[in-house]
Amino acid sequence: MDIKRGAVSGTLESSDVQVTIEPAANGIWLELSSSVMNQYSRQIRQVVLNTLSNLGVERANVTVVDRGALDSTIKARVECAVFRASEWEGAIPWQGLVK
């Protein structure tokens, strides 16, 4: 999926994560901060990268501000931000691009 504009999803509430996606010339640039950095940053990073990969995003600036979200929430917020940023119209490909 192509990132056409900047988009945000999620909040800064406890147990949530705010994901900001912006267009980039090439590659994935990921900026991560988390309230559970020491114990979970590797897993958070993996979930973000896997989700982007599943969605076929190859170029994006991604900022993740995590407040202790579970993996399923991180995935949901990344997906929403990508669909917004790609200006997707029409039915969402549940069980397809959205694993």
């Binding site: 999803s9 999620g10 509430e13 406890s14 147990s15 949530d16 979200a69 579970l70 993996d71 399923s72 929430t73 995935k75 949901a76 917020r77 997906e79 929403c80 669909f83 917004r84 039915a91 969402i92 549940w94 069980q95 959205v98």
Partner: protein
């Protein structure tokens, strides 16, 4: 005792004393509300979610349904109304995620249910779900809905019950909440009659004032006395009260057990009408007695009464 009566395996008839609303946009609420032990949760895409977050809530909902184990707690999704552009995608996300059922808000006519039913059928095909596995409940929120309640209750094989929603109804009737419940009497009476006539379940409206637990308790007692199956609730603190009030007493359970036993025994012997504890009993008492036993079992008091 085991085997003398069975908890129904028909998902349409499962116990639904408490249906707890959860905002599908709030991860902190959705992640483990099952620990409070409601019979059902209603993951809300409608009123709890602001207009510009409808898409985000769907992604949360879908991932929540796919990844979080709610155990035996039923997962219903309240979709957006038929007067919005959101409901078709809501239905797709719910079915794709594997929701147990869909709650249709502001239902006014049987054809409202039919439209959602058709969308569910399409989605079940699209996402390879077992046909018919997604149930429906309709929320009746207007005078027209109340008047059409029987049609609505009989509109779909998938429909397991109807819920009354008091907020819009009170406004339409130009009244407000009163502790006596008199302002809801017309809706409660009519919808309950329709549900019983159609053989589906009926749930009362939410009680939103969390500071008035006595008022809540009084309303739940009235609900049970009227014959409701359960209640929509807004906070886990309300669960224990509803379950306590809907829990049959020892005396009620013992009576029900005697009725079921006697009915089975007499049916084997070809007797139709007989006496239990001096009361005339026939086959019409069976479903009520079985319901009492199922309630007792769900409340964990069946063993104590034996």
């Amino acid at each position: 005792m085991a085997g003398t009566c069975e908890v129904t395996s028909d998902p349409k008839k499962r116990l639904r004393r408490t249906m707890l609303f959860l905002n599908a946009q709030r991860p902190s609420l959705m992640k483990d509300a099952y620990i409070y032990g409601p019979d059902s949760v209603i993951l809300d895409l409608e009123d709890a979610v602001s207009e510009n977050q409808k898409d985000a809530a769907r992604f949360s909902l879908y991932n929540n349904l796919r990844s979080i184990d709610y155990g035996t707690v039923e997962r219903i999704v309240r979709i957006n109304g038929l007067d919005t552009p959101h409901w078709p995608e809501d239905v797709r996300a719910s079915v794709a995620g594997g929701a147990d059922g869909i709650r249709i808000p502001k239902c006014e006519r049987a054809c409202d249910v039919k439209r959602i039913e058709a969308a569910i059928e399409d989605a079940e095909r699209e996402f390879s779900r077992e046909p018919g596995c997604t149930l429906i409940m309709a929320a009746i929120e207007s005078p027209r809905g109340v008047l059409n309640a029987l049609d609505i209750c009989e509109s779909s094989e998938r429909l397991f019950g109807v819920a009354i929603s008091g907020g819009d109804f009170r406004a339409a009737m130009r009244t407000k909440y009163y502790p006596s419940g008199v302002e809801m009497a017309s809706a409660r009476g009519n919808v309950l009659l329709a549900a019983r006539a159609a053989g589906v379940q009926c749930f009362d409206t939410v009680f939103t004032n969390l500071d008035d637990m006595d008022g809540f308790r009084a309303e739940v007692i009235m609900n049970r006395e009227m014959g409701f199956d359960g209640k929509s609730i807004v906070n886990p603190r309300q669960i224990a009260i509803v379950h306590e009030i809907f829990t049959p007493t020892d005396k009620e359970i013992r009576e029900a057990l005697r009725v079921v036993r006697a009915l089975r025994q007499n049916a084997d012997e070809g007797v139709g009408v007989f006496l239990v504890d001096g009361k005339m009993i026939d086959a019409a008492f069976l479903s009520g007695a079985e319901h009492t036993i199922a309630l007792a079992r769900a409340s964990g008091v069946l063993g104590e009464a034996l």
